[in-house]
Symmetry: C2
Subunit: 405 residues, 2 copies
């Protein structure tokens, strides 16, 4: 049976780059940039006034001058008026271009402006500026024209969208969203609007996986097949050719109705592994069609389905959108209580997570009734990955954690 | 001037419940539940077989019997066949209802099944089950019919969607998305597709805020007003009546073109505070229209705009969707390097955040060029809140952190 590490390596070995598309800027939120965004101008593009106040020449202040005749007013967005006489000053607003002849801004709070009866206005500097350039955001001090601001592979959040706006990027080139078929299997499953017979239950895994794919930046459609080799023989090939990935749940255990591995082989899907040294999720099957989709055949117990989706499929969905980037950093959490797990397999332990006032992330194991207990996911915010080689985990042990909220 | 704590209290004092809407289950992902979801059946709804194997009566095993004639096969989703003779067994698959007469399942891995020439099949139990009920997920052991599975106020993620599917909730009642007008002000701002003059820049704050509102579960439209009292007088009233919140950026400093506070007062917006003891974001103005929107008038420097949005507006947007719930838990991070900030105001310090292998969240201050340096948001994943009363923060200090990625 495959180890978790080897299964991870095999899953990520199938990652290839998705095609790109060009989207209007607001629609690119949450997507992965696939063409770098560079600065079309310096940042700031001019010597930018950083406070409301008066613009003057520092040399005059340095020579002891504290009173300046106010010869004008310049708002942000106005063409600058040169300050030709260094004994004078201009009122000036945040965001304005510093005019030629001025090099320093004194904010209103540090100035008194007196209006004389003849209409002349005189500013008295009460708090002297410490140096030339005070309250001026100097051209190119943040970034230079031509600098890469957003490299390929960037996840586009609000700050990235704003930076793109600043350089006039009305459209961005991003990775297409991975297109996923989510397939439930099992004769015991009925649709949501049907009343289940006493020995039936409603479909839930396909709704869960569809939602999870959406959250990972993909788009997903739901399908259902009964436990019937013929239904699989007919149903699988179109999905393998129309989707980037097929997520199946159920049908991969040792049961007599677990027809999936055979049906997938028949449909031309190459098995990369079947069975992983882990709990939950031992029967997990993974393969790849030579000209088509990768197939995650997840165990059908809902906790097992979800945990294995998070552990293997979600990183794959992220990776196909940003194949040039290294893997995400691991997150670590501190086990809040002693925990023992004897079987020599990797254990994914559902936990609730809390930030403590000493800056640690504390993981409290959630009481679970086994991998059939879907509701045990509700109070959990992730799962710890307990290595196979260890059985006893004292409170305080630090372990990698996979967050799903 | 208002303290950060008082500003927070005043902002949240305006929270009232948004109307609800009823959505198809898949569309409810990411929304806040406003009508509890209860169990329509027990969980599991029947004694559910948890492993593929054989179903038998534990009493027979306890009496020393290890060989059982296999009298049938029951798949998941089939009506159960009672096991009338406790000396016999049924092959049974995961997810099936345990048949009357059986109380224990032995998995295939622990059984040998021999096929005799007369067609009889006999199972020999190699590994004895430890107790009655082994590998059976007992009816109602997880939840009882009528239990609240998802309380009002729940944020609907994939696991919650799955739980709702299980109880047949084809539709869910959720809070409407808050509807937000995002308004940029400033004569220096041009649209993205215009070539800015040397003293102009492109709009970016409104794109940033629109994206941020979207991420917080709201929907937002963008507007722009020039620094012109008449434009504000005409433009503001319709927004105040059509939206739940108006987010403005710029126009609230001490500048001669900062007409907003007067224009808002004229439009009937009651000022709750103007000016907060914080950096960045000192000029932040907040108010409420008696029959309309709340107004967040954020400072126009992009870092200031974004940090104050995250600190005040994002929690408000969340709270109006789930007004019955307590505030979100604080998250804490450990300062990675000594930091000094002398002014006696609360300081929001941009940091990158990394999970360390000892389970702590480490916050490294990002070099910033002041609140005009939009690009300094890019390497940051949040900001620490440094209390006003303290100036020197040695490495290792633990502080509340606001994450925006």
């Amino acid at each position: 049976m495959t180890t978790v590490e080897e299964a991870t390596r095999l899953v990520l070995s199938t990652v290839r780059s998705l095609p790109v598309e060009r989207l209007p800027l607001p629609d690119a939120l949450g997507r992965i940039l696939r063409e770098a965004v560079t600065a079309d101008r310096d940042f700031p593009p001019f010597n930018r006034v950083a406070m409301d106040g008066i613009a003057l020449s520092y040399a005059a202040v340095a020579q002891g001058q504290t009173q300046f005749e106010v010869v004008g007013m310049q708002f942000a967005g106005q063409s600058p008026t040169p300050l030709t006489n260094p004994a004078t000053t201009l009122e000036i607003m945040t965001g304005a271009m510093l005019p030629p002849g001025a090099d320093t801004v004194v904010r209103y709070e540090d100035v008194d402006i007196a209006e004389h009866t003849d209409g002349r206005r005189v500013a008295t500097v009460r708090v002297l500026p410490p140096k030339a350039g005070h309250n001026v955001h100097v051209q190119a001090s943040d970034r230079h024209q031509g600098d890469v601001l957003l490299p390929e592979g960037t996840l586009l959040g609000p700050a990235e969208v704003a930076v793109a706006a600043t350089v006039g990027a009305t459209h961005l080139v991003v990775a297409q969203r991975p297109h996923v078929a989510v397939v439930s299997t099992g004769d015991e499953l009925v649709e949501l609007d049907q009343a289940p017979l006493p020995y039936q239950i409603r479909r839930s895994n396909s709704y869960m996986l569809q939602a999870a794919v959406w959250q990972a930046g993909g788009r997903a459609e739901r399908f259902h097949f009964n436990d019937d080799p013929e239904a699989l023989r007919q149903g699988l090939p179109p999905l393998l050719h129309q989707y980037d990935a097929v997520l199946l749940s159920g049908g991969v255990s040792m049961g007599k109705a677990d027809f999936l591995p055979a049906a997938l082989a028949e449909a031309g899907v190459e098995q990369l592994f079947h069975g992983v040294q882990q709990r939950p999720g031992k029967p997990f099957w993974f393969g790849q069609h030579p000209q088509g989709a990768v197939v995650f055949a997840l165990p059908g117990n809902p906790v097992s389905t979800f945990v294995n989706y998070c552990r293997y499929a979600a990183p794959w969905l992220r990776a196909v959108q940003q194949p040039t980037l290294p893997q995400l950093e691991a997150t670590y959490a501190v086990l809040a209580a002693d925990f023992t797990f004897n079987p020599p397999v990797t254990h994914f332990l559902l936990v609730s997570l809390h930030s403590t006032s000493d800056g640690r992330l504390l993981a409290t194991p959630e009481r679970a009734h086994g991998s059939g207990d879907l509701a045990s996911l509700l109070p959990s915010s992730g799962f710890l990955e307990l290595p196979a080689a260890q059985s006893v985990f004292p409170a305080g042990t630090v372990l990698p954690v996979w967050r799903f909220r």
